[in-house]
Symmetry: C2
Amino acid sequence: MERRAKRYNELWVTEEQTSNMKLSLRINQILINKKSEYQDILLVETFEYGRMLILDGAIQIAERDEFCYSEMMAHIVLCAHPSPKRVLIVGGGDGGVLREVLRHKEVEKATLIDIDKEVINASKKYLPTISCAMDDPRADVQSMDALAYISSVSNEFDVAIIDSTDPVDFAAGLFEADFYSDVKRALKEDGMMLAQTESPFSDSNVVVGAFQEIKKVYPITSLCWGAMPTYPTGIWTYTIGSKKLDPSVPRCPAPEGTKYYTTEIHKAAFVLPPFLKKLLDKA
Amino acid sequence: MERRAKRYNELWVTEEQTSNMKLSLRINQILINKKSEYQDILLVETFEYGRMLILDGAIQIAERDEFCYSEMMAHIVLCAHPSPKRVLIVGGGDGGVLREVLRHKEVEKATLIDIDKEVINASKKYLPTISCAMDDPRADVQSMDALAYISSVSNEFDVAIIDSTDPVDFAAGLFEADFYSDVKRALKEDGMMLAQTESPFSDSNVVVGAFQEIKKVYPITSLCWGAMPTYPTGIWTYTIGSKKLDPSVPRCPAPEGTKYYTTEIHKAAFVLPPFLKKLLDKA
């Protein structure tokens, strides 16, 4: 029998980014692998990106690159608003966006509504650098159906951030005009909302669809983009619906401690390549 | 025996982006799969990105997203230079960067030096939308060792573009100060060079290393970045060494027909997130 070099066990997790494209990451350990009432929850430690939360097979957030996403989600609208005191986060149970929202000293209260309590608990237990702001006295974290919550409030928030999963299953309603209209009613008269709206390369139909739906409801609709390595194609879009103010104009300085966002990045994020402008012309 | 749904053959190609991360693409057909004198050449048709050239296992260029890379490689330096008449392209045997260079009407001659004639021929045969400018009378396409070519010329080019493969094997020398110094001698007194310098997430050591080496040689060293979906992490850096002029300032208008580059994108590409600035502080 021939000798062979010592071999090691390898564990990999694979995301089907589309039916024709997969990203695989080598993992060190599995921390959670269970079904909640709403979805499959997988929390693993990857060698490339640190700990990572995966819901129904889709990568949600990883320790090493989440700052790109969390900062864009929070600071674009919070810095475009002249005085953001009351903030609503829909989804975002990991707490990354909440952490960035609470970097803004002028925020008095941030309400986070995620449908799945088990996601919130998983993040609290295993993703401390992401969930760390949940204990802030200004944080109001609730697990309930955001659609039900939103339909019960009006004229309450300066800014709303829609940190949803992909537009399938229970999250599909978060990409429709009826929901955006409810959010509009929940906003004050100079309020604005921002939603994550997927990749312009692999999900251009979602980008166009969300833009169309938001445009039906808000007088000002605008799109910006940024880097996000663990999401399909590495490029992500964020679409803003605003009742009064142009969201591409930064009105407040960047909070301290950011790794992705600056006032200059804010302006640059609204500069769109022609292929992306052309995509929005369809909307 | 139970009946089962009809199943289909699936062919996938996988790139090891790092030892801990892999991208897989479903393919329709294999057009070339051979060894040249220098490298393994694989040319496949993918469902997600159209036809794709892979060298030694690394994705080089794909029909559907190459515009992001080809345009940044060409237009940043060609638009920053006030009058680019003579252009050198090192590598880039697929012809994508050459096509973009020749969109500039003021370019009188573009010399492309790729070590591997078989890459040039593969692109001519199977990637017509990418290689289409090789027959332009202003194109001078040669297959030889760029290191040898460069050491024989001086004061000849306005702009040089280093479209190399990853810094391993025969391409490693293209990331060193000696080479950048030879390129400097080949440039005219207001000349500038741009090199692709990998991802700030997965290859931060290459980003820092190339910046250091270029800085040793050029009075002005500057880095910009952009989207590139089929490259690891989707974000790519481009580093410029300039003898006299600030490359972040666009001096010529964008050529017609671009899908990624505009004058505004030029300026935005030099706006760096703090994490990337911090990386360069090490250089």
